[in-house]
């Protein structure tokens, strides 16, 4: 079937089988391999992208359902330019290890901060519940989102834990 959508600001037109999942359209038709697949059951969130302003799991959406949609993937967050504050937060606060869950986690964090500019730790933890990470124990992911939230508000981010540690 014919699908036309906008991905990272660029129009994409492609033919897919109706059963093609959005994530496979992104990864295999458009070559946007930053969006990952980590499970079969819509649990892990590695495939999270933003569709028409909301975070969704692109492994649980048919490509044909995205007809006419505006889709943003991890590749579209900063393009080749400066990092988005959430990306910066993940780098600054060691919010990733193997990096596989990271694009989906970052997209979820972007969605979270667009709804709530000053989330508490509890709100961050519940806001990212749909994104599994097996490496970080989420500790530094929370710190990364706290960093990004402060930056996006124009505040000074909380200091890193290791500087306090080594004092």
């Amino acid at each position: 079937m014919h699908v036309s959508l906008t991905v990272n600001g660029q129009r994409a037109v492609t033919d897919v089988e109706p059963r093609t999942l959005l994530v496979h359209l992104l990864r295999e038709e458009l070559g946007l391999t930053g969006t990952h697949v980590g499970c079969d059951t819509s649990y892990c969130g590695a495939c999270t992208v933003i569709v028409n302003g909301n975070t969704v799991k692109s492994c649980t959406m048919l490509a044909v359902q995205a007809q006419g949609a505006e889709v943003t993937t991890i590749e579209g967050l900063a393009g080749n330019g400066d990092l988005h504050p959430v990306q910066e937060g993940f780098w600054e606060r060691h919010g990733l290890q193997c990096g596989f869950c990271t694009p989906g986690m970052i997209m979820s964090a972007v969605g979270l901060l667009s709804d709530n500019e000053s989330p508490t730790e509890n709100e961050i933890r519940h806001g990212l519940e749909g994104n599994l990470c097996r490496c970080t124990g989420y500790h530094n992911i929370v710190r990364a989102v706290e960093y990004a939230a402060a930056k996006m508000r124009g505040d000074e981010p909380p200091p890193p834990e290791w500087e306090e540690d080594s004092a």
Partner: protein
């Protein structure tokens, strides 16, 4: 995993959708897809035709319709969870929606879809039952209303006939207070319910005058716990009265074991969740 092949149609109107459903064998309605697509990916279910109602106008709103609030077929869990009309008239449903899945699931999945799918451990069917919702079903033959208490028939089975689409849930503006409580599979309010209970209660002259309690997660389908209200009506709604009433939560309810709970444990939890939901509903009604 990847779904089997199917045909996909995206009707532009409800009439078009119902006529396709009426004329097509093996067709299934797709709305948010959060319940349907995972089982299709696992190939546990493989419809021949998917009728995507996602582009039909007029199904996406929560509206004040006088004596009730209408929740359209394409209203997302996230909208149900945050809507002020729902919060005012159907707090239990707002809570249940806010505990459904995770953020992304709530952004994509629909309240009507969750109710039409009728998973045995889903949150919102219990709230719809306790709130005395009315389901509106449309087909090529027109529309009909189904009371929530008649809607859930068996495991993953509702009163919807082949060819019918659940287009709206109507939540009565009935005063009182409502609440939803559950123990989730990972503990707390996470994930599907090991056991959950929703309660709506109204008070008059310091006594419980009416109400409903519904359970989820414990049996083959969401079920009204009628013995509880029999016991509670007429009491002052004190903790002692609630505890006594909650002990009757399982009257007429079949309890089934699953990976997350034995019959004994689920039976116990049903009473605990009933008690907690009732206490909150009564507090809200006061």
């Amino acid at each position: 995993m990847y779904p089997r092949s199917f045909e996909y149609v995206s009707p532009g109107s409800l009439d078009e959708a119902t006529s396709i459903l009426a004329s097509t064998d093996g067709a299934k309605v797709l709305a948010g897809g959060m319940s349907l697509l995972p089982i299709m990916k696992l190939r546990l279910f493989s419809p021949d035709v998917l009728v995507d109602i996602g582009r039909i106008p007029g199904l996406s709103s929560i509206q004040d319709q006088g004596d009730h609030v209408g929740v359209g077929a394409l209203v997302r869990h996230a909208d149900t969870a945050s809507d002020p009309l729902i919060a005012e008239h159907a707090a239990a449903l707002a809570t249940a929606a806010s505990w459904t899945g995770d953020v992304q699931v709530r952004n994509q999945g629909t309240t009507c879809g969750s109710i039409a799918h009728a998973d045995i451990a889903a949150d919102q069917p219990a709230a719809a039952l306790a709130l005395g919702a009315t389901m509106v079903a449309a087909s090529a033959n027109g529309t009909r209303e189904i009371a929530a208490s008649d809607f859930f028939v068996d495991t993953l089975t509702t009163a919807l006939e082949p060819g019918e689409i659940l287009t709206e849930i109507r939540l009565p503006k009935q005063g009182g207070g409502s609440a939803y409580e559950k123990l989730g599979r990972r503990g707390g309010h996470t994930d599907y319910a090991v056991a959950g209970a929703s309660a709506w209660v109204d008070l008059a002259d310091g006594a419980v005058c009416c109400g409903r309690v519904a359970l989820t997660g414990v049996g083959p389908m969401p079920t009204l716990a009628e013995g509880v209200m029999e016991s509670l009506i007429g009491t002052d709604g004190s903790d002692a009265a609630v505890a006594a009433a909650s002990d009757r939560a399982l009257e007429g309810v079949t309890v089934l074991e699953d990976l997350f709970g034995t019959v004994e444990y689920k039976s116990h939890l049903a009473k605990v969740m009933t008690r907690r939901a009732l206490q909150q509903a009564i507090a809200a009604a006061m």
